[in-house]
């Protein structure tokens, strides 16, 4: 009788997941930490010529480099989105907005990681207009102009997807939105390290995504109180 009630409740929970349920707080939370590195030869990053936009060019004493591959010491790989792709019991979108800036004619951060339904605020901090054009395929693709001084553009996405972002006026500007279902995500810095915190014990699938080098997954088991690790080695190709 009791197990039947539990299975009935589980069914209800599954059926109403789309409406959104309160995430269960992790009991005895664990952490998955790791390090993302690469093997092989990555493409060379090139300096960006902003001569066509003098108001941005003068913000950089030396030209900034393209950001599709950001590396660090010891073959560390930055801008890798690491997240729980399976096994995560929590759901629901946080209300804290993720901020995306267009500053000096570049996107800051290069990859904005957010959740399904989480608000995104896009700011234009430059003296020039930008058009913000996220090239979504699963979500809706839209394209809006944002002149200097305009209020932030607010957007949300309701399906998980990795979305390339570009500005058509400034063709060197490239960024990404990583729209995930899970609140357990991290973005590696130049040192390639990440930590996924607040995980209750259980088996998880961890996925690492890089905009050029693809996706890798690992199964990780978190035991109560004990830290778990997952390292990823991406295969770099020069082009």
């Amino acid at each position: 009788m009791r197990t039947n009630l539990v299975s009935c409740l589980a069914l209800s929970a599954a059926a109403t997941a789309a409406i959104g349920a309160v995430s269960r707080p992790a009991t005895n939370p664990g952490t998955i930490t790791g390090h993302v590195t690469f093997t092989g030869t990555p493409p060379k990053m090139r300096p960006i010529d902003m001569a066509k936009e003098p108001s941005c060019a003068k913000q950089h004493s030396t030209p900034i480099m393209t950001e599709s591959v950001v590396t660090g010491p010891g073959n560390a790989l930055g801008n890798v989105v690491v997240y729980i792709s399976a096994g995560d019991q929590s759901a629901g979108a946080p209300t804290q907005a993720v901020r995306y800036d267009q500053k000096g004619c570049e996107y800051i951060p290069h990859v904005a990681v957010l959740q399904v339904g989480q608000p995104l605020e896009i700011y234009n901090d430059d003296q020039t207009s930008h058009n913000i054009h996220p090239l979504a395929k699963v979500n809706s693709e839209w394209n809006k102009s944002q002149p200097p001084g305009a209020p932030p553009i607010k957007a949300t996405y309701d399906k998980p997807e990795f979305i390339a972002v570009k500005c058509n006026v400034h063709p060197w500007m490239h960024g990404n939105f990583a729209v995930l279902t899970t609140p357990h995500h991290a973005l590696t810095g130049q040192d390639g390290t990440f930590a996924l915190e607040g995980l209750s014990p259980g088996k998880y699938t961890v996925t690492a995504w890089h905009e050029r080098f693809g996706t890798q997954t690992q199964e990780v088991t978190v035991e109560g109180g004990k830290p778990a690790t997952a390292d990823f080695v991406m295969k770099a190709t020069p082009y």
């Binding site: 054009h133 809706s140 394209n143 809006k144």
Partner: protein, 281 residues
């Protein structure tokens, strides 16, 4: 007792799901325009006769002839459309699609299909919508309101000119609208194919119509899938009409706006600041 509960719950949920599915199937295979109802099954016959050569049997724009034509045919599976009356990021209405089919797209290989009966065109619209699940998932957007046009006075045109400068239209379209702005040569569409901005000096019809309200809708909804963004967040309706009036003066056509502007210009040309990069750059 719990078994009955489980059963009732599952049955209710199943009923809900099937209800949703039936409704979705209904909207997916039918379309409405005026007093006509278009059926996707009939549209499939028409599509096979008229459209497969370019748009391909899978509706993905990879027809037999697509490799030789530029601009490329529309990929219906992506459900991204240029000519809409609905905001950017939303799907067009049945009427928008019907007009696109009827009008064709000037300077492309998409002909005006007016010789087809209205029923045939409505059937085609119904069939086109079967190529993407987005039609079922979200349906068309809500058309924007186009308020009545303001008079085309020299003040309106002058303000439109200021907006052309401020909104930086010239960066792509060029200071005189010749499609030669600083960013024009690097423009790519959403499939990373090169695409030129509209050249007002060509005088050709716009891809999405030829009237002033059509022009209004172009920059207030954006041309999805192309570099042309929506300015709906940045322009008030009165501003938008001013911009429309100014854009008309860039075309070598005998429009009322051009007449007003060219009458005003000889005595006031000295006041005009050049369009382009701000001074000092």
């Amino acid at each position: 007792m719990s078994r009955i509960l489980w059963g009732a719950w599952a049955a209710g949920f199943g009923l809900l799901l099937s209800g949703v599915e039936v409704c979705a199937a209904q909207t997916q295979t039918e379309t409405h325009f005026g007093n006509l109802t278009g059926k996707a099954a009939a549209g499939k016959q028409e599509y096979r006769r008229y459209c497969v050569g370019c748009h391909g049997p899978a509706g993905d724009g990879n027809g037999e002839n697509a490799q030789w034509i530029d601009p490329k045919p529309r990929d219906f599976t992506a459900a991204v459309f240029k000519c809409r009356s609905t905001p950017t990021g939303t799907l067009p209405t049945d009427e928008d699609l019907y007009h696109s089919v009827s009008r064709g797209f000037v300077t492309t290989n998409m002909p005006p299909w007016v010789p087809l009966t209205r029923q045939a065109r409505v059937n085609l619209v119904a069939y086109i919508k079967t190529f993407s699940p987005k039609w079922q998932a979200q349906g068309p957007g809500t058309p924007i309101t186009v308020p009545p046009e303001t008079p085309a006075t020299p003040e309106s045109i002058l303000h439109g000119r200021e907006l052309f400068q401020k909104m930086e239209c010239w960066k792509c379209h060029g200071p005189a609208g010749h499609g030669d702005g600083p960013s024009a040569s690097t423009l790519t569409d959403s499939k990373d194919r090169p695409i030129p901005p509209y050249n007002f000096a060509s005088g050709s019809r716009f891809k999405c119509g030829e009237t002033n309200p059509d022009l209004y809708r172009i920059f207030m909804t954006g041309l999805d899938g192309t570099p042309m963004p929506s300015f709906a967040d940045q322009l008030q309706p009165a501003d938008a009409w001013d911009l429309v009036h100014f854009l008309r003066t860039l075309q070598p056509l005998p429009t009322p706006e051009a007449a007003v502007w060219h009458a005003w210009l000889p005595t006031h040309a000295g006041q005009l600041k050049p369009i382009g990069p701000p001074e000092g750059q």
